[in-house]
């Protein structure tokens, strides 16, 4: 018997129900989820940080002030450290606040697939990659997203493209500099095709990409580092210039290998670590037939029987888990500066790291794990339980954990769970059992 309320929709395609907020009815409604893609979400938008262009101005300004031996600006609007801290908090607080959870889930999904992890100087550039290259395209085409991310300064710096020079470029010849293959390889392997290319394709692609440089206002080539001549990549010939790089991105994005890897990513993220093969195939065909448009894939996903399965198969990532637990306890995440949080050492960023998802600092360029085992080592489980306990102790003194369990999980919770929550000696411990339960950690 399917749960008649929208819990499944909120849990599988969002960040879970919020305490004190009535649930919609009708179970999982694909139309209602799709409507989120074009709806305004003011609570979430409040967490948008400065634009890439503004950040470039602030960085230039800080460099200039340092040269002039002036102290950095202290006004929080202009202080880079304040902005960085706000960015990291937004990683949790934005999904916590969101009324369109599906949108935030998609932004996090694609940003993780096209990962930039923080290295010195890059952290400040990551939020614009998420908000200006990924976010506008989740309602559009994947090839456009791929191209936009490719040109993001954060990506160029993270995968060393900013220091790759054509060996026969003027700079390369004069300084004896050459190619750096890092971005070329990951663009093919992680961001798009995954398989079906050779080392020769990687090297040729590196020749094509040489000269890309970070800029605050769109694509820029450093002509001195551009490799002259033709490049043959996957059987196609390219010359030089920004339109040629864009043509390459479009071409690889529309390869069938990319269609399958995008389809698998989407199905694996929302449905199961090993998603049904027919779903992946349907999504891949949808992608190819729609010219890489993502919304038709979402609809195919939402209307597939697997999306309506009443068993929750996926493990919530630490970000999902933390946002869901804050929503479940009526917090926003902004409380981390309060004495109560500080006293318990509840710094959200540190807790995220202990759970295995250090904010903006995935260990590898393929991003954080998308399947359960990567987030289920014993130390990570210990960190989840510690968080659940701390949060319950902080908020659960007057809680009604049984009603909360009913509100959050309803028919999706197991009888064992309701028994355990009811069996706790104290209210807050009942809440700790609920938040620390396997039921609550799934989506």
């Amino acid at each position: 018997m399917p749960d008649p309320a929208s819990r499944l929709e909120e849990i599988r395609f969002g960040y879970g129900p919020r305490v004190g907020q009535a649930l919609a009815s009708g179970g999982l409604d694909p139309d209602r989820v799709m409507a989120q893609l074009t709806a305004r979400d003011k609570p979430a938008e409040a967490w948008t940080g400065p634009t890439l262009a503004d950040r470039f101005v602030l960085i230039d300004d800080q460099v200039a002030r340092r040269r002039a031996k002036l102290a950095p600006l202290t006004d929080p609007t202009y202080n880079l450290n304040t902005i960085r801290a706000r960015d990291a908090l937004a990683f949790i607080a934005r999904p916590t606040a969101a009324s369109c959870g599906f949108v935030e889930r998609l932004v996090n999904l694609w940003s993780n697939r096209l990962t930039v992890a923080s290295s010195p100087g890059v952290a400040i550039l990551i939020p614009p990659l998420r908000d200006e290259a990924v976010r506008p395209h989740i309602t559009g085409r994947f090839p456009d997203m791929l191209r936009a991310v490719l040109w993001q300064p954060a990506m160029l710096a993270y995968l060393n493209q900013n220091v790759s020079s054509g060996p026969n470029s003027s700079y390369g010849l004069r300084k004896g500099r050459g190619l750096n293959e890092n971005l070329a390889r990951e663009l093919l392997e992680l961001h798009s095709m995954g398989t079906g290319f050779t080392q020769a394709d990687v090297t040729e692609l590196a020749r094509l990409l040489a000269g890309m440089q970070a800029a605050g206002n769109g694509p820029e080539l450093d002509e001195r580092r551009v490799e002259p001549g033709e490049k043959t990549i996957l059987g196609d010939t390219y010359t030089t210039g920004i339109p040629e790089i864009d043509r390459l991105a479009e071409t690889i994005a529309m390869r069938p290998e990319t269609a399958h890897s995008v389809a698998r990513m989407l199905a694996r993220h929302f449905i199961a670590d090993e998603p049904p093969a027919d779903l992946v195939e349907t999504l891949a065909q949808t992608y190819l037939q729609s010219g890489g448009h993502l919304p038709p894939m979402y609809r195919a996903l939402l209307t597939h029987p697997a999306a309506h399965d009443q068993t929750l198969h996926k493990l919530r990532s630490p970000q999902d888990f933390m946002a869901a637990s804050l929503r479940a306890t009526g917090l926003s995440g902004d409380e981390e500066e309060t004495p109560a949080f500080r006293k318990k050492g509840m710094r959200l960023g540190e807790v995220m790291a202990r759970m295995g998802q250090p904010v903006f600092a995935a260990r590898r360029p393929d991003g954080w794990p998308e399947t359960a085992p990567g987030f289920l080592t014993p130390p990570m489980v210990a960190a989840r339980l510690e968080w659940a306990t701390d949060l319950a102790r902080l908020t659960g003194e007057r809680a009604d954990p049984v009603a909360q369990a009913q509100h959050l999980l309803g028919d999706l919770g197991t009888p064992l769970l309701f028994g355990a929550v009811a069996g706790a000696e104290q209210r807050w411990e009942g809440l700790a059992v609920l938040l620390g339960s396997p039921d609550f950690m799934r989506r």
């Binding site: 293959e181 790291a353 202990r354 260990r363 014993p378 210990a382 069996g423 000696e425 411990e429």
Partner: protein, 387 residues
Amino acid sequence: MSPTHLVSRRAFLIGCSVAASPLVTSVTFAAATGENRLVIILLRGAMDGLDVVRPIGDPGYAALRPTLAAGEPLNLDGFFALHPAAAALMPLWNAGQLGFVQAVATPYRIGRSHFVAQDALENGAGAADGGMTPARDGWLNRAVGLIPGATPDTAVSIGRERMMILDGAQPTGHWFPSEESALSAQGQALLAALHSADPLFAGPFAQAQTLTQTANLEIPRDDLAYRSFGTYVADRLRAEQRIASFSVGGWDTHQSQARTMSDRLASLSETILSIQSGLGKHWDTTLVLTMTEFGRTARENGSNGTDHGTGGLMIAAGGALRGGRVFGQWPGLGEGQLLAERDLMPTADVRAYAAWALRSMFGIEAQALQSQVFPGLDMGDDPGLVL
């Protein structure tokens, strides 16, 4: 659910492990595996072996490494010299407790993908395309199953991250310090009941419960410093554990390699030395091996770094090592000697050295090593890694 239905935490853990374990018999809980200890350190990101153990005697070397050959490497044997940032390890070399294996690789030699290569290294199947065994388990896990008297406490991964190398059918541990729970015993029992009933959570939850029992050490809640990390590893190996594995990242040096390499090597040296000091007399029967997914391009790239390559380096240390030498057959760096005109040519399967280490340290039969632990491996002659 009444808490009286639940056994104590420790008993719960053991009960759970035994149920899942085909290798435990009723008498094997006493540590029956002897005094030999093996530490496998996975260096993620692909360490540049040509920079760590520099072939200064090879006529091709200097030209391939115009900036990276700088500094004053420490002479090892006249032909090879050690990166200066690893100077702290020289006393081990002089004592015959440090050695290296040059020009090794897994059989995955075409794709140069970190992720396929790391999986291949930890899985140990040895497929040329990086394909894994059907169980997608780790070779060290399969090896534990072949050690007479092994228990769920014999092998342990250390750190927060999952280690495929020790994943699989044999129960093994996973340690990292954690805080005591603020929940009452009853609250903990309720959580234990929920988690033990859930196949996904049962194993990691049970082990998570033991993590708080470790610390007579002052462990910070965030990442461990390298010295305390080595000490923590040594602590485990002084207790029941005989095999430990952990990973150290940050070796993907596409850019400004000189700086990153110095930092990484200094940290790795510190970790190895703190394992040594933490183990005390047990260091004499310990072998530490590092493995990395592949080597890097013989030539520097265009940004003072190196790109993904093939032939790589294994670092070996420990009192059980017959050290003071660079093992392996050197392929040369000259014209026609590089793989695909770019990478150090591998001259041995890195799995053979791991297999011989398991053979020497734990007496696992060669036939089992070549069929079960590393399917299809030809171990060849004993390289004499272990005293």
